[in-house]
């Protein structure tokens, strides 16, 4: 299972591609791509780069743990949740920072 993630241009914030084709801050709203849907990822990554509003666009492996989306890599978990010690919230998106495909 994979999700599509990127950093938004203006804020630099981590964002996730959702079912509604909007990019969200909350990894829980990320669209889950099954193995059979993986072929769609390349096209979406290209479309995301083409917006010129998203940086470091990449697919990430995830698992579902008690109904929640959890990134496989620690790096991605920290990226989704913010610095751990002390805990800081992730970079908030402003009105201007919303991107959709």
């Amino acid at each position: 299972m994979q999700i599509l993630t990127a950093n938004e241009l203006l804020s630099g914030a981590s964002v996730y591609f959702g079912d509604d084709r909007h990019w969200h801050q909350d990894i829980q709203r990320a669209r889950i791509f099954s193995e059979t849907e993986a072929s769609e990822l390349d096209g979406l990554i290209a479309a995301a780069v083409a917006t010129k509003r998203l940086i470091s666009v990449a697919a990430e492996k995830v698992r579902i743990d008690k109904g929640r989306v959890v990134a496989q890599r620690l790096r991605e978990r920290i990226r989704a949740e913010g610095p751990t010690s002390p805990r800081h919230a992730v970079q908030p998106l402003r009105e201007s920072d919303h991107v959709s495909l």
């Binding site: 203006l10 630099g12 914030a13 010129k52 620690l74 990226r79 800081h88 992730v90």
Partner: protein, 550 residues
């Protein structure tokens, strides 16, 4: 300290305008990220895990109060109210927004600061001894020469696309507090037979995945020839440094692969042709720059105050004086280090309020001068001994009076996986755990001087190779593991630490360090034999055994 003239202001504001236009073009979609990336990096703007990170240059770690106040203002207005001081004596902001960066740079230019060359394959911020111009043991104040190197290297047209980044450190004291032998070029003040002061040049030092100790390439270069000599080294490096593999692109690899003798021959041959030319530094110019760094108007020593007396009656204050003061060349004065390593805090971080408090103290008690140390602390370089108590009282109020400089909790720590896009493991929580384990004043005093350096990846921003105990975070199958090293030394007796054994999980790090400390306490000959001295005397074996015994 150096003050901008109209020329410098034009230089920096030109750069701000240029970057503002580049940001505009990027946001308008006229530049792709691929095109924009090198441009933003040239202005110190990285993309990290959660947001952009802006690295602001503090030239050779020297600042004044208005500059630190401006940094506080930027932290508050454009960021989250704090900044992170780095081992390159710079400061990083972790949460700026892209459109704000031109405004930040413009505000910085108002106090003669910028972010130029804090990234990219160019000559980075020149670093030096944080006690430069103040230390009792100093042969010469290295800052005028550091300033001249700063000017020479700023947007140097030939050396802006080097094989890899290039770091120069310079020290004017025999005790090396600037880790010059772990830089691409290290300069140490040296007196020749005639008593003339010049520079002894080391080349090819560095950390990262291939740590190496710099080797002396030339015994003595007089001031007037220094730029010509540096240009010769840089030209040889620019032309022959490896570009096929970024992990082998630093000058240390060139020196290692070609051999010091070959590199010396090439540099000398270039130097012979460049020497005596346009880069020859005239004595008048050196004097002109030196005038900016003239010592402040010290008042004569006041015998009623001395550090020994000050220590009486207040154990906390006594410890502060003991560990956080450094001998000054002027009788009646001392240099005070403000530790940014509170127990349980984030090493190197300071809040906007703390920055403002320190700026006020610098103005009131240190002739408006401040330093950033490569150990990620702040320094008030010129404090009259009679004022130390007043300074301490203010620091204490703002949680800045941690008396741990040089001790086990004064750790160099990179941001690690909590912030950094390159990291494999977290660093900050390890530092916090260690600080809590060893942080009582009694424990620290018992252990004495001991440097623990922590890096979250092989790039070694946390200088783990030169920690007396080094901690390197790695990632194995999705888990953070930490490798410990022993015996590293950044000082004039430079050494690279040895790996003690297999990596261990984060929770096991405090216990492992505990065993190393116990081993030291058990085998030291006297209380005056420091940890690193003991390691050098007995070797790694007993420590390795202790590390492996669980």
């Amino acid at each position: 300290m150096y003050r901008y003239d109209e020329f410098d202001l034009g230089f920096v504001s030109g750069r701000v305008d240029q970057f503002r236009d580049q940001v505009r073009r990027r946001i308008a979609g006229e530049l792709t990220e691929e095109q924009f990336r090198p441009l933003r990096l040239m202005n110190g703007l990285y993309l990290q895990l959660h947001a952009y990170m802006l690295r602001v240059c503090v030239p050779y770690g020297t600042m004044n109060a208005p500059q630190l106040r401006k940094l506080a203002h930027i932290a508050r207005k454009y960021d989250r109210g704090y900044g992170h001081f780095t081992t390159r004596q710079n400061i990083q902001f972790n949460w700026p927004r892209l459109q704000d960066v031109p405004d930040i740079l413009e505000e910085l230019s108002e106090v003669e600061m910028h972010a130029i060359q804090t990234s990219g394959n160019c000559i980075r911020n020149v670093t030096t001894d944080q006690f430069a111009g103040a230390a009792a043991d100093e042969i010469i104040d290295p800052r005028p020469v550091a300033e001249i190197i700063r000017q020479w290297s700023s947007l140097h047209p030939e050396f802006t696309f080097l094989p890899r980044k290039f770091k120069i450190a310079i020290t004017g004291a025999p005790e090396d507090r600037a880790a010059v032998r772990f830089h691409d070029i290290g300069l140490m003040a040296q007196e020749d037979e005639a008593g003339e002061v010049g520079w002894s040049v080391y080349v090819g030092g560095g950390m990262g995945r291939t740590p190496m100790i710099g080797q002396r390439i030339r015994n003595f270069v007089p001031h007037e020839d220094l730029l010509a000599y540096l240009e010769s080294v840089l030209r040889v490096y620019n032309r022959y440094g490896r570009r096929d593999n970024k992990y082998k692109a630093r000058i240390k690899i060139l020196v290692h692969e070609e051999g010091l003798a070959t590199i010396r021959e090439q540099v000398d041959s270039e130097f012979e042709k460049v020497r005596g030319g346009i880069l020859t530094l005239p004595e008048e110019e050196l004097s002109r720059i030196r005038a900016y760094f003239a010592p402040p108007q010290f008042v004569l020593s006041d015998d009623r105050f001395n550090l020994a007396d000050l220590k009486r009656n207040d154990a906390g204050f006594a410890r502060f004086v003991e560990y956080n003061s450094h001998p000054h060349r002027q009788a009646g004065y001392t240099s005070l280090t403000i530790s940014l390593k509170p127990i349980g805090g984030v090493p190197g971080d300071a809040t906007a309020e703390q920055m403002e408090v320190v700026a006020d103290l610098a103005e009131r008690f240190s002739f408006n001068e401040l330093r950033v140390s490569h150990e990620q602390n702040l320094v008030l370089p010129h404090v009259a001994i009679r004022d130390v108590r007043a300074v301490y009282d203010v620091l204490k109020e703002y949680a800045l009076a941690e008396a741990n400089v040089g001790l086990i909790t004064d750790m160099i720590t990179c941001p690690g996986l909590d912030y950094c896009a390159l990291a494999n493991a977290r660093s900050i929580p390890i530092a916090q755990d260690l600080a809590r384990r060893f942080g009582t004043p009694e424990r620290q005093a018992e252990i004495g001087p001991l440097k623990i350096n922590i890096s979250g990846c092989i790039n070694a921003c946390g200088h783990h190779h030169v920690g007396h105990i080094g901690v390197l975070g790695v990632e194995k199958k999705g888990t953070e593991l930490y490798q410990l090293t022993l015996g590293g030394d950044a000082s004039e007796s430079a050494a690279i630490g040895d790996i003690l054994g297999p990596g261990i999980v984060a929770e096991a790090v405090p216990d492992a360090v505990e065993r190393l400390v116990q081993t030291y306490l058990g085998l030291r000959e006297t209380k005056d034999e420091t940890f690193i001295a003991a390691v050098k005397r007995v070797g790694a074996v007993p420590f390795r055994e202790a590390y492996l015994a669980t």
